[in-house]
Symmetry: C2
Subunit: 716 residues, 2 copies
Amino acid sequence: MRKQALILVALAAAVLMPSATAEDGYKLWLRYDALEAGIPYLPADVVTGCTTPSATIRKSLDELDIAFASLAGEKLPQSRTAGEGSLILASRKCLDGLPQGLRPDVAGLGQDGYVIESVETGAGRALLIAGQSDAGLMYGVFDFLMRLSRSKDVRGLSVEQTPAVKLRLLNHWDNLDRHVERGYAGQSIWNWHLLPGYVDPRYEDYARANASIGINGVSLTNVNADATVLTPQYIEKVAALADVFRPYGIQVYLTARFSAPMELGGLDTADPLDDDVHQWWRAKADEIYTEIPDFGGFLVKANSEGQPGPQDYSRSHAVGANMLADALAPHGGVVMWRAFVYSAEEPEDRVKQAYTEFKPLDGAFRDNVIVQVKNGPLDFQPREPFHPLFGAMEETPLALELQITKEYLGFSTHLAYLGTLWEEVLAADTYVDGTGSTVADVIDGAFTGESLTAMAGVSNVGVDRNWTGSHFDQANWYAFGRFAWDPDVSAEAIAGDWAALTFTTDPDALDVIVDMMMQSREAVVNYMTPLGLTHLMGTGHHYGPAPWVDDLGRADWTPYYYHRATEDAIGFDRTETGSNAVARYAEPLMRRWSDVDTTPDELLLWFHRLPWDYEMKSGRSLWEELVRHYDLGVQQAVDLAEQWQRLEGQIDPERFAQTAAYLDIQKREARWWRDASIAYWQSVNGLALPEGAEPPAHDLDYYKRLEFPNAPGQGG
Amino acid sequence: MRKQALILVALAAAVLMPSATAEDGYKLWLRYDALEAGIPYLPADVVTGCTTPSATIRKSLDELDIAFASLAGEKLPQSRTAGEGSLILASRKCLDGLPQGLRPDVAGLGQDGYVIESVETGAGRALLIAGQSDAGLMYGVFDFLMRLSRSKDVRGLSVEQTPAVKLRLLNHWDNLDRHVERGYAGQSIWNWHLLPGYVDPRYEDYARANASIGINGVSLTNVNADATVLTPQYIEKVAALADVFRPYGIQVYLTARFSAPMELGGLDTADPLDDDVHQWWRAKADEIYTEIPDFGGFLVKANSEGQPGPQDYSRSHAVGANMLADALAPHGGVVMWRAFVYSAEEPEDRVKQAYTEFKPLDGAFRDNVIVQVKNGPLDFQPREPFHPLFGAMEETPLALELQITKEYLGFSTHLAYLGTLWEEVLAADTYVDGTGSTVADVIDGAFTGESLTAMAGVSNVGVDRNWTGSHFDQANWYAFGRFAWDPDVSAEAIAGDWAALTFTTDPDALDVIVDMMMQSREAVVNYMTPLGLTHLMGTGHHYGPAPWVDDLGRADWTPYYYHRATEDAIGFDRTETGSNAVARYAEPLMRRWSDVDTTPDELLLWFHRLPWDYEMKSGRSLWEELVRHYDLGVQQAVDLAEQWQRLEGQIDPERFAQTAAYLDIQKREARWWRDASIAYWQSVNGLALPEGAEPPAHDLDYYKRLEFPNAPGQGG
């Protein structure tokens, strides 16, 4: 009794100690918080069909232990025979222990699919979770646990889930010195220096989080690649990570620096048609697979922003990719070749380049190459039209690359739920196969019939205690996994699920949080890049507004290149009279976006150059409408902060306080974006502010003089 | 009842969740773990003498709440009148509420001193904690709580404590981009980008930890300074940190880049005798004190390793320091001017330089300048003799600079408790005022009669969850605070206190841990730099052995410069026949260390160049003795790992596992140091290994080829 009392004291202490065990967000959406109303369903026991469970099934059982210890205060007992109230786990390899009648037909579930359903055991009703693969089973277990965590009664459940996309990858832009390019959550979680001698337990928590949302691949290193990661010294480190991830169904990928045969191999060329180069990559692949038998493959950024590539030898992207693909093919690896390219010389309209280079290569790639295309043709801006390569490549599998980290949407401090951005892209109709051929259809292979399908998200994970720099940014990691599993799921549903797992199951509070999330990205668009404007951010670090910059190393790095504002007009003419980038889209999009009258406001200045006094659909002038959007964005940022304040007392104090501080920063920075932008536009167009609009807080020079040499996440 | 049960479930859950609430070391030595034997003393209530308690006293009361909630499961009630079992808090400003008879005489306690003693209230015996200042009272509260945490019965206690050193500072070598030079615990905890908008609660936990060991000042930025921190934008950020630290009695300091008047002020000189430069610094100081009224002052590295300084204008260090001192003096600030200098030209023996430059300036500094001197004349090596400036400056206050971060002692993975190193330095007799004038006497003002006394420790803190990269490295932070408070305390006593607060109060386990700590630094000396060898580490990153390097930009950056090994002999002759650096020490040290026969083995090759077959006191040849020391070091590393293994089950699994992994790394790296060093010495001396000694695992070329471009903590 005394001992028990002491334990309780210790428990109380652990919870009461203010900072050390405060709600710091480390647990992500896997909190398994005990529910005030009690657990909706408590299985009598767990039964598996495995005589010797695989590592993956053991981890699934561990996860049940973690969850029930937390949700119900006790782990579930394991049992050999299923009966009333049992939870049965089964997979193709894990059926033996089950009576014939309870062996589910898992053949049709696909590689990672699962079912959750009520079954009659003969001794009462039980709940069955079954996958074809052990990984599928594990995904089912996570789904089950997260439904339970959201207070859902799962007893009558009948779920069948199969992921629409085969490879669901995080791409880390992490350098070997632990700097994360475009990272706003601290250093890389990969502690290369201490690997393999010290394997941080955090790697496993990272794997759990990924597995819980279906992510099955991780590219560890920056696409601006360092060949060092391909040395034996580093392959050993990578293998240690692969060992941690394997039970969670996660494969590791590396970025391959195209010039590695020269840098590491001492060759005097990296020409993909050179035999020695071929041989070097083959040997390197063999070496990697010796250490990491389930290595996923290479992610490659070539001939883009200074990276080496096949064009250095006048070879096409296809020739380069195929060489790597041939080296990986014997081992089952794939090449993910990025289409984010623009010429080293100053090009035609930058948004046309990827199409220009890749469209002619359709069908020229090996079967184990997938071309990875950003959602838009520019670069992860707050809003772009979808990338015209989607639908244009009929014989080449395309992966969709999304940016989870918010390089252009306010870093970690601005609330910008990206679910709505991604939903917009995935639901966009390419019309290449008539109405209803969406980007999602291209990605999941419905359009091309490809079985090699993939979606990649540029990770926002770092060593910050809450993983992603802000609590709300966890939602973007979560949403990426959910969309990669099912590109047709709604952003709002994801937001609701995430918020319930993360913050509270109280319906009123959830309404507020989901509402904040759903409006947040449009708020950012409004105060940063309204009406189809784009690429207006500060140079290098991309922090804050700098629309006035017009004199960088090349024109298409400047904001001016994209807005082209003069005394008379603003916007980039991408119609026939301009760059004609619009011609890359199928009809009726081409016609619709070529005509200023049928172009939606939100893409107006992306496709058209218009006079400041152009009359908008609203009846207001373009200038008035622009200012109005800035004001709306600022007001939305104010609203977000106020909505959050209403939740005080319903959210734990630490997460409430950090989020409140961040929303205050967002509010101030929204105003900064608006004021600096308006001050600049006025300096160009000489127009007075529309009536009622507040003048900028400072003059233009003030904004121009601001410097942020130490802003986080910079490249290079 | 139902609610209680739910709370207990939630508590249990919080503790059982494996990773999120595992023992991650975040709480440092302020764990306040409930003791198995129960709390030895539970006050009836807390009584303060304050009608309106200061922020410092409120934080002291908060700390009591945190501690008793954890140690005893309940906070102490506050009461207006003291009686049987009360805990009474008092300070000069906090006496009003106490009856006349209970008002302690705090006048003699000094600025930060305190008493803890049993007093008779008239209504029973109470325990009084009293300081002259509120900070003194707070130090008393922490002392009280840490005694209680170590299971000490404090009721009969009669403690009177006054710190021997006035300014007890951490020096962070943190860049504004959050890279920590010589940091092995992740990025800087100062998130400059988010300050002042977001004030991380961790800053307060950092302040609590420092206050608990008496640290009262923090220099925030790298001594290789960036003038940017002196801009208004950054001063506002610094002020936000100062606001957090102030209640904990901690002042902030900044590193001042000597050329700031040019870089920020647009002046064309930084000449300390230029009126505009003077004026610029005065205005800058005024500006800082407007924002931070209790700003501590400037820490300056000038004319050292490429930093700008007064010598750029042919002015002395004193002229430079005095200019800054004059700017700070009206506000009560101090200048800590570092003596770690060596000429930009290739100098005489590098270990002589600081003395050569500073000794002639004795007495030339303003009253608010303190010259900050590293413990040894070279650079924080595993072993050096004490710095000959200690005792040589009779009219200049000297601060002792220690390096808490283990730049040269195995980064974060090697267990090297620095308490023994610092004890060795502090207890070293300078003989400048006869026998018994130790370095500690110089530091605490006993020798010079100075009241401006200081000790600075180069911080090992970063964003790693356990703060210092390894659990054992927390001991070095703790020990620094303890030594700064009392330079005469024993390293072993500190180790015992720390281990009991950090790991366990079990006496047998404590014996093992303290024994490990006490032998650890000598182990490192043995496998890295035995017999007075020094500076043998890898170039730039300082990771691992590289005794063969002999061709850097300047000779005194190379290991070869320090060991000078040839076929015939090894060591640096610092006697009369060599650089005569030994002459900088007072008699009898000079005579003792000049004579090879009276030089202790541990400093032998520091002062003498000797043939490989020189016969040691042991009767073995120098070569045999050297190999023997390497072997001993490797064996000690093996022993450390084995000793730790014996503690399995007595230490929580997470801290046990990480420490075990680190000790394994240390074991392997000890062997690497030994093997690489021996392979190199053999390549030079051509000698066979002594009988029984194992040959190196690889040939010398193997060790030379190892590259670590991404080792952490690099400068620049």
